[in-house]
Structure formats: C-alpha cells, structure tokens
C-alpha cells in the first residue's frame, strides 16, 4: 500500500499554484491520474519517484518511509523501487535497445530478465538497433521494458501513449496491462484519455489546479448519473450558421463534431467559443465495434 501526501508551490505560467494532494493506493492496483495540463500531474509522479522534492511530504510504501519532511527523510531516487517511463521515452541514444535494458541491471541481478522482457515486448528484431532508428511505438515498448528490468514494485507512466496514433495506442495498452499483471506492479499512469482509463485502471484521481477534484472507480468519477438513458457531452461551439429557416450550431467535443439545430431565439444565447453542454434523451443509441 502506498500512502501519499504532498504539498508543493508550483511556478506556472499563470503564477503560483499550490499542489496539495493526499491519497492512498492498494498494492497491485492500477491508478489513473487525469486532469488538464498544468494541474500538477507530472509533479505528483515526480515527487513519488524522488525526482522532485516537495515542500512538505509524507510518503510511505509498504511501511517503508520514502519521504517525511518533518523527520527530514528523503530516500534517494536510486533507492526507490520504481520504474519510470518518461513522456519523451528518455532512451539512451548511445546504447542499442538491448544495451539500454542491460544498463538497468544491478550488480548480481539475474540477466535472464533481459531476454524475458525482449520476448514479452516483442523486441527481438530490434535489440541491436539504436533508439533513433525506432518508431514512437517501438521506443515506448523499449522504455517500458527498461523500466521493468529492476523488478520495481511501482511503475510510473507519464502520459506514455499521448504521442501515438489510436491503433498503436490500443496495442500498447495491452502491453502495459500485460506487464502490470505479470510483474504484480502497482501502477500509476497519467492519461488524458477517458476510454483508456476505463480499459486499464481500477481507480482514478481527477486532478484540477493542484487539488483532487474527484477520486474513485472510473465509473463513479466519469459517469455521474450511473445508469441513465441520457447522453451528456461537453464541448465548444465552433460555428453557428443559418440553414433555410433554422440555425445549425456545430459543437466540437473530443474527436467529434456534433450538429445541433436551434431556432433564431435560441441562438441569441450562444457565441462561438463558448463551452456548452449537449444533452439528449437517447431513445435509439447505435453501438458499433471499432477495433
């Protein structure tokens, strides 16, 4: 079990923002951290890894104290049992794929873990390539494998899939899940994708401006009304134009554009750029398999 409590004043583009977060995770859980950019997600992960020091903190991992600002305890990064996957992968350009993995070995480690991970992550044909010759998805797999070599207890993923296309994303989600289960990890992952959270995580923290807005299972955080026949989407008005006697408002929401019909009276209230809620009683929803 991880108990995490930290306070840190962040310097952001809009001035100072206090990050004040406290939560706990059971061993073996998969926790997603969700929120706008600048909410403090990466800082939270970095504090847990020891890469950033908080102003005030109390972190315990299975009864071991990693951080305690009152007792002035700060376990060095090297001593924390973590695997960290960076947003830019941070593969060492001077080493081949295999050497990148081998670099993570400690004295006396069983070297079989390297071949095991190369096989698990399907890196056999790439093991002698340099990182700069790999595609984004391949780099991600190497970074993931390298983070596991030390057999850490905790895996930290900083938006690992944000730069990949959907197909690659789905594939890598499976790799992450495979690793999480096989090595009995406690995993914390930053992500912007709600479908990803539903697919991978047991619980989710919604971070906003340095505070936890909501936490719980993905269902309880994202589906307010639990089971209902209503659709509710938030989005932004991108255009309003007249079509014959009615008006058509286009709303951008996620990856899709929704068209809503409105009367002349109704459009008086709307402007392009406004954030709006589109709700509908869905009497006949269509569901299709896409992957």
């Amino acid at each position: 079990m991880i108990q995490f409590k930290a306070y840190k004043m962040l310097q952001t583009a809009d001035g100072e923002l206090p990050l004040d977060v406290s939560f706990s995770i059971q061993k073996g859980q998969f926790l997603a951290i969700y929120g706008n950019s600048g909410a403090g997600k990466t800082t939270l992960l970095r504090i847990l890894a020891g890469l950033t020091q908080a102003d005030k903190s109390a972190i315990t991992v299975e009864d071991n104290i990693w951080d305690d600002s009152e007792k002035k305890i700060h376990l060095p990064i090297q001593k924390r049992s973590i695997g960290f996957v960076f947003q830019d992968y941070a593969l060492f350009p001077n080493l081949t794929v295999k050497e990148n993995l081998e670099f993570a070995l400690q004295k006396g480690d069983d070297t079989n873990i390297i071949s095991e991970l190369i096989e698990l992550m399907e890196l056999q044909s790439l093991q002698n390539s340099k990182p700069q010759n790999l595609s984004g998805g391949q780099k991600q797999r190497v970074a993931l494998a390298r983070a596991i070599v030390r057999r850490p207890k905790i895996l930290l993923l900083d938006e690992p899939l944000s730069a990949l296309d959907d197909e690659m994303r789905f594939k890598l989600q499976d790799y992450i899940l495979k690793i999480h289960q096989k090595y009995q990890l406690t995993t914390l992952m930053i992500t912007h994708s709600i479908p990803e959270i539903f697919k991978l995580s047991d619980s989710v923290i919604h971070l906003d401006k340095g505070k936890i807005l909501k936490e719980g299972t993905p269902g309880s955080v994202f589906l307010e009304d639990k089971i209902s026949s209503k659709f509710k989407l938030t989005g932004e008005i991108i255009s309003i134009h007249k079509s014959d006697i009615i008006y058509v408002i286009q709303v951008s929401s996620g990856n899709s554009i929704i068209r809503v019909v409105a009367t002349e009276d109704e459009i008086q209230n709307f402007k392009v750029g406004q954030k709006v809620l589109v709700a509908s009683k869905a009497f006949n929803p269509i569901i299709q398999v896409i992957s």
Binding site: I77, A90, L91, P93
Partner: protein, 224 residues
C-alpha cells in the same frame, strides 16, 4: 638550421593545458548546467572574460599576481617553493585560465542541449551520478567534448600576449613558437620566421577543418 625546441615546447604546453582543462571543465560544466546557484551568471561571465580581454591585460595581472613581491606569489614560493613568473609552470597556469572558455563553452552547450530526462532515467534505474556522467552523459555529448579539446589545443598553440607577459622568452623554458616568430622577425631572420609561421598556419587550418568536419557529421546524425 632552425631550432625545433619552441615547437616541442608549444606542443607540450598545449597538451598539458588541454588535459588539465578537460578534467577541470567536466565537473565545472556539470555544475553550471544543473545547479540552481543564484550567482551562476557571474561565474559564467568570469569564465568567458578571456574571450574579450586583451591577452596583455590578462598577462599583466597574472604577472603581478605571480610575482614573489606580492602576497599570492610569496605564498606560493614560501609554502610550495613554486615560482610562476618566467617558468613553464607559470605558463601552464596562465594558459589554463586563458583557454578556459574554449573548453567550457562547447561542453556546456552540449550539456544544455542534452534532455535532462536522460539523466533522470539513469537515476530511476538505480545508477549513481558518477556512473550516469561516465556512461550516459559524456558518450552523448562526444562531439562537444571533441570540439572543446581541439579548440583548447589550437588556442593554446596560438597564444602570444599572455605568454610573453608571464613567461618572457627563455629558451627551452618559455620560448614557444609564437614568440620565436616574433624574435626571428625582430632580428631580421625572415627565413626562419617563415618556417615557423608556415607550420602554425598549416596546423591552424587543419585543426579548424577537422572541427567543421566533426560538426557537420554530428549535425547529420543529430540524435534529438
């Protein structure tokens, strides 16, 4: 027959200076690149000073400082029996100061261009700072290291004002090629001056050619 000792002396001076600066610059640059020390800009300005200062100014101050009649020089001769005025040791120290920016600047810019996540990744993999510098940081900035080494060596070969001030022109001790040329011209031995000058000219050109070839190559295989 031309006297080759100034050439050997110059090569020896440049080699020792480069070696000292290389070992000195790596920790210094690492500190400059990653520390959050508030007055870092002052240190950086001091390091770059020899780039703009006339060599005779630097040489003049060093001469004053090294002189046994002043506190620092007296301290050195009293406690270490070390005399830095008109000696080879003095030349080395002066060259180290004078060529410092030529070693520091390329290495520092190499470090600043290296994503900081590489270092952090190495830490999360349980590696110490020392191992990280040796196995990850230095191999990934090798074009900068090479540029620093070559520029320092070439710059030391070409120095004149500082050497003349601090070292004078003692044969086999402080008389380097650039000073030998000056003396040959003064005593109207244009033939000898021509040989020395020709050697330095060819040397400097080849050095710069090598630097640009390396830079072009590393730009083509840009890693980031």
């Amino acid at each position: 027959m031309i006297d080759f000792s100034p050439l050997w002396l110059t090569a020896k001076l440049a080699l020792i200076t480069t070696l000292i600066l290389f070992l000195l610059a790596i920790p210094l640059c690492y500190w400059l690149a990653y520390s959050r020390f508030r007055f870092k800009a002052i240190i950086e300005a001091i390091i770059s000073l020899p780039l703009v200062l006339p060599p005779s100014v630097l040489g003049f101050y060093l001469l004053l400082a090294f002189s046994p009649e002043n506190a620092f020089g007296e301290f050195l001769s009293e406690y270490f029996n070390l005399r830095l005025v008109f000696t080879f040791q003095g030349l080395i120290l002066a060259s180290v100061l004078y060529s410092l920016p030529f070693m520091v600047n390329p290495i520092l810019s190499g470090l600043k261009n290296l994503p900081v996540s590489l270092q952090e990744a190495s830490f999360t993999l349980g590696k110490s700072r020392f191992v990280t510098i040796l196995k990850i940081i230095l191999p990934n900035i090798h074009p900068s290291l090479l540029t620093g080494i070559i520029m320092t060596f070439a710059h030391t070969v070409g120095e004149f004002g500082v050497v003349l001030m601090v070292g004078g022109s003692i044969p086999h001790e402080t008389k380097v090629v650039s000073i030998a040329i000056y003396e040959e011209v003064e005593s109207m031995n244009y033939d000898n001056a021509n040989i020395y000058a020709g050697i330095l000219f060819a040397f400097s050109f080849s050095i710069l050619l090598v630097v640009h070839l390396i830079n072009n190559k590393s730009r083509k295989t840009n890693l980031y």
